[in-house]
């Protein structure tokens, strides 16, 4: 059963839609600045979305980011009305799942009570439910995935499973997250936030920059899309998910969890690894992630592999990252080129391979997007074009 990707939507610091994103990729624009959404003693750069459209003034920022990307993806898929379709909505996130409202809590801990208006944003903010509500979709296939930084990838993987099992005809899948003081402080406490612009896979990389955004894919069975009059160009061919069972915050040093996930995704796609034209890597620019991921990619695909990290354009968007990077992987296949990996200058001898340093033409039919996450999750997607 072929699962088609018929719509793409993306919003991040490198663009509020696909067109702007491609322009930023082409010009290697890096829109990072000190955070202005909240006060912070941390002066590191972040990748903050500008001029965000507000769909629901009472909603969390993450939901508004999601709705922007959903609007673009649904429009691209030429769906005007979901009624009559069997639809599932599966969205990954981290921030939107947590009640980390400092304003509420600071009052509550002082007085033992507090106004709950701000808590409503959380209680009414489950992403899958709210996106379905917004589109008047009536379904019980609603799932919000919280697998840390691989959430977006895993949400797309769950959507793939729903379709393959014929539980629905169309899935709105992806991920979203907003910049928030809690994860910024948390990553800072772990010593993995860079004071400068991030430099994925670079010898001198010094940590990540946080970002925000949303990436959405419209998935549907190919036959269903064709019945709607759509001729799909892109397909979701495989998904792999494997645990490290090693450490809460550090990847397994031998990379075997990631390797297993890659093997599974390739097997599902029914292709050999030589078919993969490029890999959109997780590439956060932390010492540990890039070392393990880079070494594993080299071990699996060899030193001639073309790969990139787009974190230098978007920052690490956490629950959105895997979904945004799945969208970027689709764009690489569809547009016939992938961008440079901003921030990378010098190869790390411990990794032994280098990501793209400039715009690079792509001619192959298959690409891989990888995600590694807190908790030892390793997830990847194989995407193909006609």
């Amino acid at each position: 059963m072929n699962i088609a990707i018929t719509g793409l939507g993306a919003i991040s610091a490198c663009g509020s839609n696909i067109k702007e994103t491609l322009q930023s990729f082409s010009l290697i624009q890096r829109n990072a600045h000190p955070v202005t959404l909240f006060k912070s003693d941390l002066k590191c750069p972040v990748f903050q979305v500008k001029d965000q459209k507000i769909y629901d003034p009472g909603a969390m920022r993450t939901l508004n980011l999601s709705l922007k990307a959903v609007e673009e993806a649904v429009s691209q898929a030429v769906i005007h009305d979901f009624s009559g379709y069997r639809v599932g909505v599966c969205i990954g996130t981290t921030v939107a799942s947590q009640l980390n409202d400092i304003d509420f809590y600071s009052i509550y801990r002082k007085k033992g009570e507090a106004n709950l208006d701000s808590v409503d944003k959380f209680l009414k903010g489950n992403l899958a439910e709210r996106i379905a509500d917004n589109l008047n979709i009536r379904t019980n296939l609603l799932c919000t995935i919280v697998n840390a930084c691989s959430s977006g990838t895993d949400a797309i993987g769950v959507g793939l499973s729903w379709l393959r099992n014929n539980y629905c005809d169309i899935v709105i899948a992806g991920g979203a997250d907003e910049l928030n003081r809690v994860p910024l402080d948390g990553f800072g406490s772990l010593g993995i936030v860079s004071d400068n612009l991030c430099a994925p896979f670079d010898r001198n990389r010094a940590g990540l920059n946080l970002g925000e955004g949303a990436g959405i894919l419209i998935l549907e069975r190919e036959d269903f899309a064709r019945k709607r009059g759509i001729a799909p160009e892109l397909f979701l061919k495989g998904y792999g998910l494997n645990a490290d069972a090693y450490h809460l915050t550090a990847p397994r040093p031998d990379g075997s969890g990631l390797k297993n996930a890659i093997i599974r995704a390739l097997k599902e796609a029914d292709i050999g690894l030589e078919k993969i034209d490029f890999v959109n890597a997780h590439g956060t620019a932390t010492r540990d992630n890039d070392k393990v991921e880079g070494k594993t990619l080299k071990e699996v695909f060899g030193e001639k592999l073309r790969f990139l990290s787009t974190k230098g354009f978007t920052g690490h968007t956490l629950g959105a990252a895997g979904a945004l990077e799945a969208v970027f992987t689709c764009l690489g296949l569809r547009e016939g080129w992938i961008p440079a990996s901003p921030g990378f200058e010098n190869e790390d001898s411990e990794i032994g391979i280098s990501p793209t340093k400039e715009r690079t033409e792509t001619k192959g039919k298959y690409a891989l997007s990888t995600s590694l996450a807190f908790g030892g999750n390793n997830s990847c997607l194989v995407i193909s074009r006609n």
């Binding site: 981290t94 947590q98 009640l99 980390n100 099992n165 090693y246 969890g257």
Partner: protein, 253 residues
């Protein structure tokens, strides 16, 4: 899919026997005896060796998941490819609030990395995988009402797609005082409790110890009340197992 093992942590204690005793005491809802799980229940130096510094949210998950695996009688080899799906409404919010305490007390630069890493929703699933040395797929999901229902659907998919041969499906929630305060004001109709229930599910009929569970996904196209509580499912599974009159023991949603 068949239920091969059960594990439960609830306000009345740990394990199936405790739960059945509570049921036999004719308490319609055993966990209504108390809202909280006793800290004494969460002491197990062997099972929680790797999770000894983890929060109670994670400890409840690791113990119930471990017990479900042990109850299934699966061998050590089966651990390696075990799938894990954790469903929760509110995640480790108690730890999140402790982390907010750090921010408010010590500022952005004075927070605890340990609290932060344990405040992430999938920390519990990570510890389950480490404890069982499982390298299979591991997923955490959250919905306020029907997260456990969604977990069962995904488990069905994983087994059919052979992502794993066996999968632990768990429902898990903690009840901190802040959440209790919020729910008392915002959701008076529900009686919040904490606990954790895990099911070892498999397609292998030979491993069936209790009954089979299935979700008719065709119904997902007609909105219905999908609230499937993991504790209620434990109760149903135990009743199905003990009902001698029933030969075809299937719980369908």
């Amino acid at each position: 899919m068949y239920i091969a093992g059960l594990g439960i942590i609830f306000s009345g204690g740990r394990g199936i026997i405790s739960f059945e005793e509570a049921l036999e005491n004719r308490n319609p809802n055993p966990s209504s005896l108390s809202k909280k799980v006793s800290t004494q229940v969460l002491i197990d130096k062997i099972v929680l060796k790797e999770a000894r510094r983890a929060d109670d949210f994670t400890k409840m998950a690791v113990l119930a998941a471990n017990d479900a695996f042990v109850d299934s009688g699966l061998n050590q080899e089966a651990k390696k490819s075990l799938g894990v799906i954790v469903a929760t409404a509110f995640g480790p919010h108690v730890t999140t609030f402790r982390f907010l305490d750090d921010i408010l007390t010590y500022g952005d630069k004075g927070v605890s990395p340990t609290l932060f890493s344990h405040s992430v929703h999938n920390a519990a699933a990570s510890y389950i995988a480490s404890n069982l040395e499982s390298r299979g797929p591991t997923l955490t999901l959250t919905q306020f009402k029907n997260s456990f229902y969604q977990a069962i659907i995904i488990a069905q998919c994983w087994l059919k797609e052979k992502r794993c041969e066996n999968v632990l499906i768990g429902g898990l929630d903690q009840l901190g005082k802040e959440m209790e305060y919020i729910l008392n004001l915002k959701a008076k109709e529900i009686m919040p409790q904490e606990g954790s229930a895990f099911f070892l599910a498999t397609e292998n009929k030979d491993l069936n110890k209790y009954c089979s569970v299935s979700i008719d996904v065709a119904k997902t196209n007609q909105l219905f009340d999908t609230t499937v509580n993991s504790f209620d499912l434990v109760k149903s599974v135990l009743l199905a197992k003990n009902d001698k009159a029933k030969t075809n023991k299937i719980i369908s949603f």
